[in-house]
């Protein structure tokens, strides 16, 4: 045991610890309806933070759409898709815009006006399991974390 303690340089560890900490970075926004452009770019500037080692990604979004008669309904279907970049105009981490329901949990955020199912009942919104998706990447302090989001709905949706 004593040899292990001797091998651990507490001074170095403390120094390292004092210069890093856990943090959660939030990107959020309201994506306009298709008719209003249907896209939004959310950014987080790391300059005042320092380098950021992302380990997981998680998120939620609304699922609003028009019922055809002008009323907003929550149909439970994901209408948003997104693409992450390391820096504005920098390295894309996805090949394309990816529907948010393929990579974000807990995912759907239930809102008012939930659309009834075919039998007239409120649909089961399922197991809202929080399962962060691994996304291990070091974002340098000189870059922004950029999330480009598109909305395929005729109504505004948020994430």
């Amino acid at each position: 045991m004593s040899s292990v303690l001797q091998a651990i340089d507490t001074g170095k560890i403390k120094d390292l610890q004092s210069r890093q900490h856990f943090d959660a970075i939030v990107l959020r926004g309201e994506v306009p309806a298709v008719a209003a452009g249907g896209s939004l770019t959310a950014k987080f500037n790391l300059a005042s933070y320092g380098d950021f080692l992302s380990q997981d990604v998680t998120g939620s979004y609304s699922t609003l759409v028009d019922d055809g008669a002008g009323a907003a309904v929550d149909d439970g279907v994901c209408h948003l898709s997104g693409r992450l970049y390391d820096g504005q105009g920098g390295t894309p981490l996805f090949s394309d815009m990816v529907p948010l329901n393929l990579w974000l949990t807990p995912g759907r955020r239930r809102t008012t006006g939930v659309l009834l199912d075919a039998a007239g009942g409120v649909p089961n919104i399922g197991s809202v399991l929080f399962f962060p998706k691994n996304l291990v990447h070091l974002f340098p302090a000189s870059n922004d974390i950029v999330l480009e989001v598109r909305n395929g709905s005729v109504l505004l949706n948020s994430f």
């Binding site: 699922t63 981490l93 394309d96 529907p99 329901n101 990579w103 949990t105 649909p123 399922g126």
Partner: protein, 151 residues
């Protein structure tokens, strides 16, 4: 003797997305890795509407789709037999509610594709007509990186 060393400064996650529509009984999607990079495929996530001949998006899996992942060029299937979509990966069948299965737990593969290798996803299913199109959203979770060869 050459020794491979990972250049960690050149690596980053790279997720590949494709919606495949089943317009013929067998449809394929190919992803060719960058000629200068290698691609470590962690796994595959799949979502599909679940359709039958009557209605689209009803969460019905009685007309199944089957999946196969192949290291193309080597004709090397990463699993022996095609796997039914609902047994393959999540979120799986979207159903009426669109998000009934919100758990996203990809099918783990952990396979390394090297320079210019081609990964092929093959989908088989019954054609159901324009009212009930079969499609599948495929998301490949992986990482691209560069190797240095040193002697």
């Amino acid at each position: 003797m050459s020794v491979k060393q990972y250049d960690y400064s050149k690596q980053h996650p790279f997720w590949v997305y494709k919606r495949i529509e089943l317009l013929t009984p067998v449809e394929t999607f190919q992803y060719r890795t960058n000629p200068e990079n290698e691609y470590l495929l962690f796994g595959v996530s799949v979502a599909f509407p679940g359709v039958n001949t009557a209605l689209p998006i009803v969460g019905d899996i009685s007309d199944p789709m089957f999946f196969k992942v192949i290291h193309w060029g080597q004709s090397k299937p990463l699993f022996e037999e095609p796997i039914r979509a609902e047994n393959f990966s999540s979120p799986g069948c979207l159903g009426y509610d669109g998000n009934e299965r919100q758990m996203i737990y990809y099918h783990k593969i952990n396979y390394l594709f090297t320079y210019s290798d081609v990964l092929q996803i093959e989908i088989r299913g019954q054609l159901l007509g324009s009212n009930s199109p079969h499609w599948a959203d495929i998301l490949l979770f992986g990482k691209t990186f560069k190797m240095n060869y040193r002697r």
